[in-house]
Symmetry: C2
Subunit: 327 residues, 2 copies
């Protein structure tokens, strides 16, 4: 069904903005952001393109979830509390009302889960692939910020959750790793399709002044830790034996050790990577218990530059691919 | 030249954010918006796609100007003062460093002109056409807002500048209207390629409490006035003889009267369309003189619904195309 832009907005997207001040029911040229009392406002934008950031044919509800969660992960890395978002949707011709209705259903479920609402947006047709840019707004409490540049030599490097599941999940989604159990394949693919933004962790790191630097892992552990190292004027070392692996990832590795580089350089995990002064390590352990989320010490920052991964034999591994680069 | 995403950001885009608090030199996951004292923050997002919103092969500097100005026009329609923007850039593979450097040069010139800066963004590669989504932030003074829903029956309808130049300019850019003079063709094409956001007008309308409703004309006069009419629960009538035409548009019409529907329904003028109580008409005349910008009374709001255009003979014209629709 070919839909008129204004019908799409009024019938399908306006309900996502209903009852919220400043949205003008999506009938206005611009949206009004809420006034804040003693909090700061942050904004993050991310673009997802069909065939690049998600597979062609992914269910619209799943696309909606991933588009929001990728942004929510950026907010988590800053310690923010999500507030609202702007949606810039470029729809291929013919992908009109039905797709949009399902996509909006997905957005609605995520809105309820994360306590956010649609503030405004722009909808247009494209001769190219489905393209979604979301600008997410969030609040920061206090005066401090989590950045990538504050790590010090000797700081410990931590990673939340488990590593590499999303990269393996993409392989599964493309029909690979067929020797794994159905449960393992499903677990990995879910991690690729529906990342879990580590919002509570980011907020706790910020409020507690626990992290000296933080970011989310979206371009691969090696490359992303490289950003923290470079912006902090340091090097970093990772102990491969300390990397947290899910049961499914362990099963995959047991079948093919050549998957290691993929784990280290694959993107899309959206776990938080952060550095901590050694004296604060007990607080990280306590936080891990409080959140019910593994926070694994995977290495440390040191003088120098670059990221090295050391194998169980104490020898540095060759990284044949530094990370996911978009060009 | 194929460029790495991080090199592009660091070398080409980071200078657009340099020296500004909250941008973190584009090294962070999210940007921090400036704290406001007694002002409100508004945000508008617009997407431009090569081949849809600008012609393939348009100079990168001109694409930059149009991408920002389309957004600035939305801000103008709200009476806002532009502040900063987020850039989501999806580049076709191969359109890397050289294109981006010129595009950034264009952004830089617009930043200087409008007093804005790059707050953050996302850069990715696309298998589709060049796609640019910009989220523009602006401030509103006072407590009032310009919206589309406040027009009253009997209010006068005004339009800034001149009508239809952009639609004719697109025809020129595609090689049409070849009988016009070189100067006229150039004037029309410039209006299509580089709209002038009516920021000072919007701010004056808001501060003076002069407009009961306002929006910018991006989808064609007839359709856009239809939005004000519908959201205000009214109808609108336009007197064709009152429509402001540039010398170039008059010359084009003199050659072909069948261009009228194109003028009424063509998009991309980015003039402000607004309604005013009749008692305030003298203030609009004074404002027009102050700004050095024609503000033409083109019709009025009335009970009923829909938009009718009356010709010099007093008969309603048939609008064969209600306006530019993206689907």
């Amino acid at each position: 069904v070919r839909a008129n832009e204004f019908e799409l907005i009024e019938e399908i997207f306006a309900p996502l903005a209903a009852g919220k001040d400043g949205t003008f029911d999506l009938t206005n040229d611009a949206a009004l952001l809420p006034a804040l009392q003693g909090e700061r406002l942050i904004a993050s934008v991310d673009t997802l393109i069909e065939g690049v950031h998600f597979l062609a044919g992914t269910a619209p509800e799943a696309v909606a979830a991933k588009a929001l969660r990728v942004n929510l992960s950026d907010i988590a890395a800053m310690g923010g509390r999500p507030l609202a978002y702007l949606l810039a949707l470029s729809l291929p011709r013919g992908q009109g009302r039905d797709w949009s209705a399902k996509f909006a259903r997905g957005l609605s479920a995520e809105q309820a889960r994360f306590g956010i609402y649609l503030l405004g947006g722009d909808t247009t047709a494209t001769p190219g692939p489905l393209t979604i840019s979301i600008t997410l707004f969030a609040t920061l409490q206090g005066e401090a910020s989590l950045t990538r540049s504050g790590a010090g030599a000797g700081d410990l490097v931590y990673l939340s959750g488990s590593l590499g599941d999303a990269a393996l999940g993409l392989t599964v989604a493309r029909g690979g790793l067929s020797a794994l159990s159905e449960a393992a394949r499903h677990a990995l693919q879910s991690r690729y399709e529906c990342p879990e933004p580590r919002l509570a962790l980011g907020q706790a790191l910020l409020q507690g002044g626990l992290a000296t630097a933080a970011m989310d892992v979206s371009d691969g552990l090696a490359q992303d830790l490289g950003h923290i190292a470079r912006h902090s004027g340091l090097g970093a070392r990772i102990e491969r034996a300390c990397l947290p692996l899910s049961a499914a990832a362990k099963a995959a590795l047991a079948g093919d050790l050549r998957l290691w580089p993929q784990l280290l350089s694959g993107g899309d995990d959206y776990e938080l990577l952060f550095t901590v002064q050694p004296s604060r390590a007990p607080e990280i352990e306590a936080l891990s218990r409080d959140l019910g989320l593994p926070l694994s010490r995977i290495g440390c920052m040191e003088a120098g530059s670059g990221v090295q991964v050391f194998g169980p034999d104490g020898q540095p591994m060759a990284l044949d691919r530094a990370g996911w680069s978009h060009f």
